[in-house]
């Protein structure tokens, strides 16, 4: 074997194994570590996945679960009064429209393959409906959920109770 072969033969298996590990790890790092770090630390960031066939969900809607199973429907997002809220809206299929009228957000276009961002301060107490404004697919009528804004203490107590359970 010549020099090239000797070098490659030593590195071949590590290179293959490294490829198998590095590629998914890089994607995971970019999505789960790098992108969230781009938002202010005090912001509460929620990514909502939209689909005309699957509805709205905090679970990622992927090529796998889109066709093979239903994702958990989003029913409620809870924040504390005064929180800076960032909603990242991603469509997995067609165009959707996001509206949260109580906070003056009447229609934000949710385009496939893009992240539409909505940012506001949760300065009102109560539960407020947000929904899809474009007739987008079979489950469009179900594409609505609540934004619940609670007093900071109430939220902490609720969380403590939840943890205790």
């Amino acid at each position: 074997m010549n020099r090239l072969d000797k070098i490659v033969s030593r590195l071949a298996l590590p290179a293959v194994l490294l490829t198998l590990v590095v590629i998914p790890a890089s994607a995971w790092w970019y999505e789960r570590v790098h992108l969230p770090s781009q938002y202010p630390k005090d912001a509460k960031v929620f990514t909502i996945w939209w689909s005309g066939d699957q509805g709205m969900s905090l679970n990622r809607i992927t090529a796998y679960n889109y066709w093979l199973k239903r994702v958990n429907q989003l029913e409620e997002i809870r924040v504390e009064k005064g929180d800076r809220v960032v909603l990242r809206l991603i469509s997995s299929d067609v165009y959707h429209g996001f509206a949260l009228p109580t906070f003056g957000i009447n229609e934000v276009l949710v385009k496939p393959g893009e992240v539409s961002e909505v940012e506001f301060v949760a300065d009102k107490l109560g539960s407020f409906l947000f929904y899809c404004t474009i007739r987008c697919g079979l489950v469009h009528p179900e594409m609505k959920a609540k934004l619940t804004v609670v007093e900071p203490q109430v939220e902490k107590v609720a969380q403590a109770e939840l943890l205790a359970q």
Partner: protein, 489 residues
């Protein structure tokens, strides 16, 4: 232990004598570029080509499962079915023969396991059962049916990332399993659906691996390295395995089953193998019915795809896209029509023209099947160019998605390179029908030109050859017009 070589196509029903093109020129590329030769002779050669493709296809498997379910938002669909497919059919196969097989990552794991080595030559008994591929399947019928089956579901395949993952991953898993059961690359030679059409269209390519002098091979009485493998230093061989594609270079005169892995470059004790540049469409011999039917299937499918994927025929599209439209009855009609067009109707038309060709030639002594098989070669250059014509608009119209998905491979809203929001921008779509017409006409010219070589192979007499070719040439003209109608509709 010495192993016999099983040449592919040995079971083909009709064997033809090689058609020698008079005064054929070829240029020894390895003599001209000794560094290329030195690289091809290294054991790392194939691995260094496979590794980047392994990384890319592994990434496509991941994006195909966890990425956006919509085809145009997912790099798996855009890169495999628009970019890779176009590069394969328009450049790799017509220019470099089966170079894709050299760098294909799908059977790599199986081959490494089988050899129990990635780079080095390991003379030990291969891992697994090491069986010979069953004799009755030593042809490309399984590839023909496999490709046809995939083609029936092509609308799902090229629009749903998960379906692409299942097929690509399935090929990877199946090849690994079969390599642990059968010898060498039996999967690639006899089963892989992508391999089948590459083999057929590789006949058109202007490069070939051949022996430098056939006499040297026939005079070599010892254990030939290309057939049995050779250890490093064995009569000067670099060291390598027996041809994984079951070829014997000494008599190999077609590209069909040569995977360009360059293993023979490492094992030839006589330094008698090289890479040659040659005129396009130099291999003109179709060996049997299995290869002829491959040509029929590919030609019909080029037309079917132009209807289901490009054309304005909504009803047929709905039938083909069964999981979306729910038209099960329509899909069954579509599947039955496509299958019968590929397997019966089009071969029937070819038979009719072959019969007319026989009548025109006035050669009653030659059996009809000779005409039928030999003239099916006309569909090789024509079919290849028809596929290029079909694939071109896919790239020109949807190519902008390449930039978009390069920045956002999962369709999760990433923007790695700043092109994540690049709008869908067709590239001069108004020129598509003109370019398609031009490509088809080039196909027609090549087809009739090689038809003449085929005819001369059948009839040494020039006039008789031309008489025999005339009906086939008319048939190719009719076919070209048919394609033009579909492409410009």
């Amino acid at each position: 232990m010495a192993e016999p070589v099983a040449a592919p196509g040995v079971e083909s029903e009709v064997e033809e004598k090689a058609v020698e093109t008079p005064g054929r020129r070829r240029i020894d590329l390895f003599e001209k570029f000794p560094r290329l030769r030195a690289f091809a002779q290294t054991r790392s050669f194939q691995f260094l080509l496979i590794l980047p493709n392994l990384a890319v296809f592994y990434f496509f498997i991941i994006t195909g499962i966890w990425g956006n379910p919509m085809g145009n938002q997912n790099i798996t669909i855009i890169f495999i079915w628009i970019l890779w497919w176009f590069l394969l059919i328009a450049f790799l196969v017509p220019l470099t023969s089966r170079l894709w097989c050299t760098m294909c990552p799908l059977p790599a794991a199986g081959e490494w396991l089988q050899r129990q080595a990635i780079i080095e030559y390991n003379p030990a008994k291969p891992m697994g059962l090491d069986k010979w591929w069953p004799k009755r399947f030593k042809n490309i019928w399984l590839q023909n049916f496999g490709f046809l089956l995939l083609a029936l579901f092509s609308v799902l395949l090229v629009t749903r990332p998960l379906v692409t993952v299942i097929v690509v991953g399935g090929i990877g898993v199946l090849s690994t399993i079969l390599m642990l059961i059968y010898k060498r690359r039996a999967f690639c030679v006899y089963l892989c659906p992508v391999s089948g059409f590459q083999g057929l269209y590789a006949m058109f390519a202007p490069i070939e691996i051949r022996s430098v002098e056939k006499e040297v091979c026939s005079a070599h009485k010892g254990k030939k390295g290309c057939m049995f493998g050779a250890k490093a230093g064995d009569e000067g061989a670099y060291g390598g395995y027996a041809c994984p594609w079951f070829e014997y270079v000494g008599t190999m005169d077609r590209n069909n089953y040569c995977g360009l892995c360059m293993e023979c470059m490492k094992t030839c004790q006589k330094d008698n193998i090289s890479l040659f540049l040659r005129p396009f469409a130099s291999d003109t011999r179709i060996k049997g019915y299995d290869e002829a039917w491959k040509a029929f299937i590919m030609t019909v499918l080029a037309m079917v795809y132009s209807i289901t994927l490009l054309g304005p025929y909504g009803l047929v599209k709905d039938w083909a896209n069964v999981t979306w439209s729910g038209e099960v009855k329509g899909f069954l009609i579509y599947a039955a029509s496509v299958s019968s067009a590929c397997l019966l109707i089009f071969p029937g038309i070819h038979l009719l023209f072959s019969y007319v060709s026989k009548l025109f030639s006035r050669a009653q002594e030659l059996p009809l099947k000779k005409f039928f098989v030999a003239y099916s070669y006309l569909l090789v250059p024509f079919g290849l160019l028809a596929w290029i014509a079909f694939s071109l608009p896919l790239l020109m119209v949807n190519g902008s998605y390449i930039l978009q998905t390069l920045s956002d491979p999962f369709g999760w809203g990433w923007d790695l390179l700043g092109t994540g929001h690049f709008p869908w921008t067709p590239f001069y779509p108004e020129t598509v029908p003109h370019l398609q017409a031009l490509i088809l006409l080039i196909g027609l010219v090549f087809s009739i030109r090689s038809g003449y070589d085929v005819a001369r192979g059948l009839f040494p007499d020039r006039e008789q050859a031309i008489r025999s070719l005339l009906p086939m040439a008319a048939y190719m003209v009719v076919l070209t017009v048919g394609f033009l109608v579909f492409f410009t509709a």
